[in-house]
């Protein structure tokens, strides 16, 4: 086992964690503030990837797509929230979960109707093509970019939530929506806004993922289970928790596949089970 190898596996874990964080942060946010387990969240990640492919194909540029696609995905999400979820917040959580399950089916198949069944590839931008030498090993630039992107988005979301007035209102709604309503916060609007923002984050994750994994059907479904694991490990509703959870899952998946290939699939769930047995509310979650 050489140093180069260890470094490479470390970077692999970080890059995967970066992507997972973009998806799970929104999932966690939606749960913390809306108390909804959003099963359709992964599909917004897929929408991001496919919209990204279209945008790159039409404009020919990657960078503007990275900025343009997330708001579009966010608007789609907000519209769906306002037209369906809004009516059933008072019901037990299982109903919201099932409603989003239905939405996921609709969106998944709609994407296939529009884009067809074949996976679609996108090239990374010229700046991020190829590999750089790090500690004696060649590592793709694009994956390094994913590490940086995950960290940057994490910092921005955290600052937004803790240092701005909007963040204050959002946190107030999360703590006690009725009280926040009394104090003059427009709870309905905050919910739609947060849902849309979370979908936009997932969309960003999708655009960023496309050059690495291509845009393909089922990418939403496969990422959502990983994202659930991340959020449950980190604690529902906690952004630092999502960060920690992403790192743990990223490490479990990449190192598991490298060092223990035959048991790799089990490792992630074993870690999650172990953490939940000792801290049923997750690493950064609050006991209810």
């Amino acid at each position: 086992m050489s140093v180069a190898n260890v470094v490479e596996q470390l970077l692999n874990a970080l890059a995967l964690a970066g992507l997972l964080f973009l998806v799970s942060a929104g999932l966690s946010l939606v749960f913390g503030i809306l108390r909804v387990v959003n099963f359709a969240h992964g599909v917004f990640y897929m929408l991001g990837a496919y919209f990204g492919v279209t945008s790159v194909a039409v404009t020919g540029w990657f960078w503007p797509s990275l900025l343009l696609v997330p708001p579009v995905v966010g608007v789609v999400g907000a519209m769906l929230e306002a037209s369906t979820l809004r009516f059933i917040y008072r019901r037990p959580p299982i109903y919201q979960l099932l409603l989003t399950f239905g939405l996921a089916l609709i969106l998944e198949e709609s994407v296939r109707v529009v884009y067809g069944p074949t996976a679609l590839g996108v090239e990374p931008p010229a700046l991020l093509q190829g590999a750089v030498e790090i500690a004696g090993t060649f590592y793709p630039r694009y994956r390094l970019f994913l590490v940086v992107l995950g960290l940057a988005v994490g910092a921005v979301v955290w600052l937004l939530l803790t240092k701005t007035r909007t963040g204050l209102v959002i946190r107030a709604v999360a703590q006690n929506s009725e009280m926040a309503d009394c104090l003059g916060a427009d709870v309905t609007r905050v919910r739609t806004l947060v849902f849309g923002a979370a979908c936009a984050l997932a969309g960003l994750g999708g655009v960023a993922a496309a050059p690495m994994t291509t845009a393909y059907l089922g990418m939403g479904i496969s990422v959502i289970v990983d994202a659930f694991v991340v959020v449950v490990i980190g604690g529902l509703g906690s952004i630092p928790g999502s960060m920690a959870g992403s790192l743990i899952v990223g490490a479990a998946q990449t190192w598991g596949a490298f060092y223990l290939p035959e048991t790799a699939m089990v490792i992630m769930y074993a870690v999650m089970g172990a953490i939940l047995i000792f801290r049923p509310w997750g690493l950064f979650g609050e006991e209810e």
């Binding site: 069944p117 590839g121 990374p124």
Partner: protein
Amino acid sequence: MKRRHFLTATVVGGTAVTLGGPVFLRRAYAQNPIKIGLPTVLSGGNAQYGIQAKRACELFAKDNKGKGILGRPVEFIYEDTAADPATAVRKAQKLVEKDGVKFLTGTVLSSEALAVSAKCPEWKVLLMSTINGAGALTAKSYNRYFFRINTSGPMGARAVSLYLAESSMKRFFALGSDYAWGRDSVQSFTAQITAAKKEVVAKDYPPVGTKDFASYIGKIKQSKADGVYLVLPGQDATIFLKQAHQFGVTREIKPIMEIVELENMKAVGDAMEGTIGSSRYPFTVDTPKNKAFVKRFHEMHNVYPDMFDGETYEGLEWLAQVITKAGSDDVEKVIEAWEDSKYDGLEGPFFMRKCDHQAVQPGFAVQAVKDPKYPHLIPKILATYPGDKVTPKCRTEEFA
């Protein structure tokens, strides 16, 4: 009044039918279609394979319009299995029991085919594989209701090994999807490469649907092999090739694919140029029959035929030929007529072995190359091997 009127009509009508019975029935028989059921994948990530099977059926229907088989029209019935073996069995059962289908084809995953094939003796229907690669289907899990028209996984591995035996590459890493087809083919490849005095230095089985291959690429790099043998289904192969290219690993370690598909070439693009492997049906085969087929196919669907477009079309044509030879669509008679029969396929002569129902056919080693005449990379044929060199011994996955 009304009721009596109705009764009278029934009696009159009934008498008329009874009297005109024989003629009436004979005509009904002539119109009675031969039904072919496809429990195939039409939704989700593997839908591209179901769509290929469907395209082939559509062209076959067009080519045989008015003729039919035995003068009877051919009817295709599609059911979506969503790539789940249990659902595949349910849909197949529905096709058999409700629609009265006697011939099944279009199963996509080998696991689906294994599940459906096991039920065929009970249902007394014939399952014709045109896609499924797992060697077990015509070996360990053989039953007389299963016929394989397509090149199997071990046969593909054989063609590649024969090609590699003459190359300068010596050490290989084998990466197979963790299911019947992937495991079978890796085993087969290992056995033959070892026999050719070369070496498989390491192997690994990523689960189906792996989206990040970084860890596997790390291992492949570390192995310092000359080539990496890939047995991955469409989407997984596309993702692997993209990522391997980004890691720059494909420059030193040549990817060698069990199946080189157009789908991959379209999705991966130029990064796949130079990749070698086997093809079960390369549309570039230079035979008059194939050229005409490609032309008709392109006219109808506006794309070039991929592997399973070609293999499925051949299956249908051959099935029609043996039903005609049997003079009936009775399953037992068709099985007898098919055994030890010959067929003039798109890429060369086919022969259906009686002992395991594996079609003996030419094997190909191909390379993905650019050609200005086409909008994407195409498989260029590097070598063609006659059927008897690439088909395993009966009901085994071993070669003479």
